[in-house]
């Protein structure tokens, strides 16, 4: 474990908060926007620096920071990243930057508060990715809720926005309960195993808990609790119903953020399986089944959708089901594919949702009956939409291909039937997406408002260019990402599979 001389992670978490505070201080909207943009750019730069200074030959946690926080519980302010989480930081920063650029002109009321909340959300999300203390993680996890509640409720585009905000918050609070239980159980178990008094032996530190011995029945309970908690956020069927509602009601830049950031799947990967190493192998099939059902279910329902944003929401549910299958496969290829696909979401799913938002903003609707023949009047938007669509179905040359290929290899390796389900689900997804594209973008423009549509503005093109460029680059040179994640994932796998995985690439 190496300790860097600059507290990079704290800077990453603190920077957006400072930006939010500055926004509170200035009165002028234009200045507030500029501050938000500058903060987002700075954040991205810091995050990218972090990736470049990240040492890929070390599989363990890096950039460790540990400060005393709640001494009575032995909870510390403990941050650190490894190969699994490091790439999520720049991607989060990029996604927030893109949403800020995309919503540059679309937020008309309470603009300052909007950007401040967005930055607070960014800070909490970075915290989720980098927290190594379970209590701190939970704090960040729940801290994403208040900004989201207000963002959905105040700037939502749908008529039922406050309902959606409430629904989202209630879902997440319910999901948080099993998480908190699991965390407390873990800490108490640590005290028991150390043979100390409850108050003295408590530990919330993730690296410590990883090595704490635990009876199998307790591991089963913890695994179930954690899977349940993260499944709500991921979302896995049947806990998915919040996502379509939120996608319909919330402001579209926020839908893009929510479909792009898959905190739940990250939680499954980071915490749920490694904390129950003995039983994870036995119960992985449960998670895989969960994922398979989500994949097929999401894709089938997507076939029936009549609204672009809802379609994208269901497709994203379907894709995340595949990612879950990849995680549950417990193979290096499946895991690599899962992480790569999660990173992809921040580029692809969010861009698609942003474009749906651009159309919503121009037409006031993304309903099928109001669309048709958009390609003629919005050619640039159509090109970007196609690029992201083919990336989302795993077309070669785009970043979707290596991810999907590895996911399929992983699931086939785990179980033959599951792989077949994966392939079937991906065909269904293609059918849903492309049939919808045919009806909305192509064909004759039937409605008058379509003819008066304006193609993408300069800032909108910029926002999409950033993501599109990365989609192509990752598609051509995916090995760069794999090199970063490889070491940590091999270590991750070794924890509960006693497979002789060679770590030769490290030396």
């Amino acid at each position: 474990m190496n300790v860097s001389f600059l507290p990079m992670l704290s800077i990453l978490i603190g920077l957006p908060l400072v930006g939010a505070l500055l926004i509170a201080l200035v009165a002028h909207v234009k200045w507030a926007k500029m501050i938000a943009l500058t903060t987002a750019v700075l954040e991205l730069l810091v995050a990218v620096t972090l990736v470049f200074t990240f040492d890929t030959s070390h599989a363990d946690f890096q950039f460790i920071e540990q400060y005393a926080w709640i001494p009575t519980f032995h909870a510390t302010f403990f941050l650190g990243i490894d190969g699994i989480s490091v790439l999520f930081l720049p991607m989060t920063a990029l996604l927030v930057l893109v949403t800020i650029i995309a919503s540059w002109h679309s937020v008309q009321s309470l603009t300052r508060l909007h950007y401040a909340l967005l930055l607070v959300l960014e800070s909490a999300t970075i915290g989720v990715f980098s927290a190594l203390d379970m209590l701190l993680f939970f704090l960040f996890w729940e801290a994403t809720l208040p900004p989201l509640f207000f963002l959905i409720g105040l700037w939502g585009v749908g008529a039922k926005r406050s309902h959606a905000a409430l629904k989202y918050t209630l879902f997440m609070l319910c999901g948080g309960v099993p998480l908190l239980f699991a965390i407390i159980l873990l800490a108490v178990n640590h005290a028991h195993q150390m043979g100390e008094l409850l108050t003295q032996g408590l530990s919330f530190s993730f690296p410590v808990l990883l090595n704490t011995p635990m009876p199998d029945h307790l591991q089963t309970v913890i695994l179930c609790l954690l899977i349940l908690g993260f499944a709500v956020k991921t979302p896995l069927v049947p806990f998915h119903t919040w996502l379509p509602t939120v996608a319909m009601e919330s402001p579209t830049q926020l839908s893009a953020l929510l479909t792009g950031l898959k905190l739940g799947a990250f939680g499954l990967l980071r915490f749920a399986l490694p904390l129950a190493p003995n039983v994870a192998g036995h119960y992985a099939w449960l998670l895989a089944l969960f994922g398979a059902v989500t994949l097929i279910y999401g894709a089938l329902i997507a076939l029936q959708q009549t609204n672009l944003r809802q379609l994208l929401a269901y497709l994203s549910i379907s894709h995340v089901g595949f990612v879950t299958m990849g995680i549950a496969s417990l193979t290096l290829q499946g895991l690599q594919g899962a992480i790569f696909q999660l990173l992809n979401f921040t580029l692809i799913a969010s861009s698609l949702m942003l474009m749906a938002g651009f159309i919503q903003q121009r037409l006031g609707s993304t309903e099928l009956v109001h669309l048709g023949g958009i390609a003629k009047v919005m050619p640039t938007c159509t090109v970007f939409f196609y690029l992201c669509s083919v990336a989302s179905i795993g077309m070669p040359l785009t970043s979707g291909f290596p991810a999907e290929l590895l996911l399929i290899i992983g699931t086939f390796k785990y179980q033959f039937g599951l792989g077949v389900v994966g392939l079937f689900g991906s065909i269904l997804g293609v059918a849903a997406l492309f049939m919808f594209i045919q009806k909305t973008f192509l064909g004759e423009a039937r409605h008058l408002p379509i003819h008066q549509l304006v193609d993408l503005r300069f800032h909108e093109v910029w926002a999409l260019c950033l993501s599109s460029l990365l989609i192509l680059i990752f598609g051509l040179w995916p090995q760069y990402v794999f090199d970063i994640t490889q070491g940590s994932l091999a270590l991750w796998l070794n924890r509960f599979l006693n497979l002789p995985l060679t770590l030769s690439f490290i030396s």
Binding site: T241, L300, F412
Partner: protein, 520 residues
Amino acid sequence: MEHFIILIPLFPLIAASCIGVLHLFGVLDGEKSERTTARIANYAVGLSCLICFLLLGHDYFYQNTAVLTLGHWVRIHDLEIKLNVFAHGFSLKLATLFALLLCIVMRFSVNYLHREAGFHRFFFVLSLFAFAMFTLVLSANVVGTFVGWEIAGLCSYLLIGYLYHRHYATYNATRVFITNRLGDAAFIAGLVLCYLWLGNIDWLDIPVFLHQLSAQKLNLMALCFVIAAMVKSAQLPFTPWLARAIEGPTPSSAIFYGAIMIHSGVYLLFLIRPLLELTPLIAGFVAMMGLLTAGYAYFVGLTQTDIKTSLIFATSAQLGLLFLECGLGFWQLATWHLFAHISVRGYQLLMAPSLLQTISGTSIQKVPVFLAENQRFYTYATQRFWLESMMDWLLIKPILNLASDLHFVDKQIIDPLMGSPAPTIHAISSLAQAQEQTIGAHLDNTEDTFAQGSGLAGKLTQWTATLLHWFEYHFILQGVSENVFRYGRHLGHIANQTELALLKPRYLFTFIFITLLVAL
């Protein structure tokens, strides 16, 4: 010298990205810049063609290395995806023929598409297609071939839907694309099986390890690739997509479905030749389907009345014969047939419009007598044996029905079950209600206001309360006499309905399918 081979697919890719990016940002747009676009595309393919011929000559005199490895694309643990290409033999010859045809068609299109709105788009897609086909033919590993395979499919989609404001063009494009995805899925399954069972995905190394596998595994692997080949080369039962695909501009039809892309299925059979030779069962299957397709396309082709469709069914029939030859193991014959058919059919389709011009006025050849006399068979042939409707009924309809059922379940059952508070907009739907609320009266509210919950827990409590209340009211308060029987019968009826619904074929098949998957 041999290393120049990487430039063959690279030039068209660079051309495609140049045209694509410049057209997107409006630099290349309209009639003025047509010349620039045409130049970029033509030079790129021309250079590729030149390199092909140079390498072919080099191969003839000095013998190139069979496989050239240029590096790695992905390396994860034991999964190695190399960047390697065939620089020798059959693949190089085929690539040269493709390059030559691409050159001709590209040049032809410059005039053909002059002043078309989609001029730049057309050349972008055609360049991308050239890249895809070179990758497909030259790649020496399964993943590389698959990359070309997929992108060629995408290009085909983009050109069928070339006139994107026309409903039929886009509908056909989407349909063809989704049908082709079936084959792609089979291909990717074959790829994964190669990696899992052989630990290797290089075409030339696959035969070395094949002997370790059981017959069952060999058959499954061969079947995956064969299905992929059958979809791409429009063999039965996937033939109908081909007739839908000729919606695009004539040069693209010629190059995609007359000359190049349609033959990639046959090329795949050549690649898995060692595998087919070990699996007589699958080879027999290939031969049989080829024969059936040839017969089918022959009879359907006889009754077609427009030139492009009859040519496309002729293509289908010839492809069937090629599959037959490959299945029977006449590889030498198939090679000659392949090269001859590519050249002739490409030329025929390219010339189809001018052919119409020349023969206009002359009467067309009549339907053969035996077909004209047998009216029933004639009807079958004109209806293309209802193959497409059959597939719709067998495959698409059940899936769509299942989807609509699930959609209903999602909206009506799961969403309310997961609990969500009553939407605020529903809370006060009229002024009267608002007034009621202000005075604190609930005049026409039938629900028990004491037990109104939200969220999962809240709803559950509310439902329990309501249920108990219902029981109490109907059974205990109103007496046990007649209501018990009435509601009992009602419940029985609901149970019957549920059982009937569950016995519907789509659910039955879903259950059987799930059981099979689990058993696997």
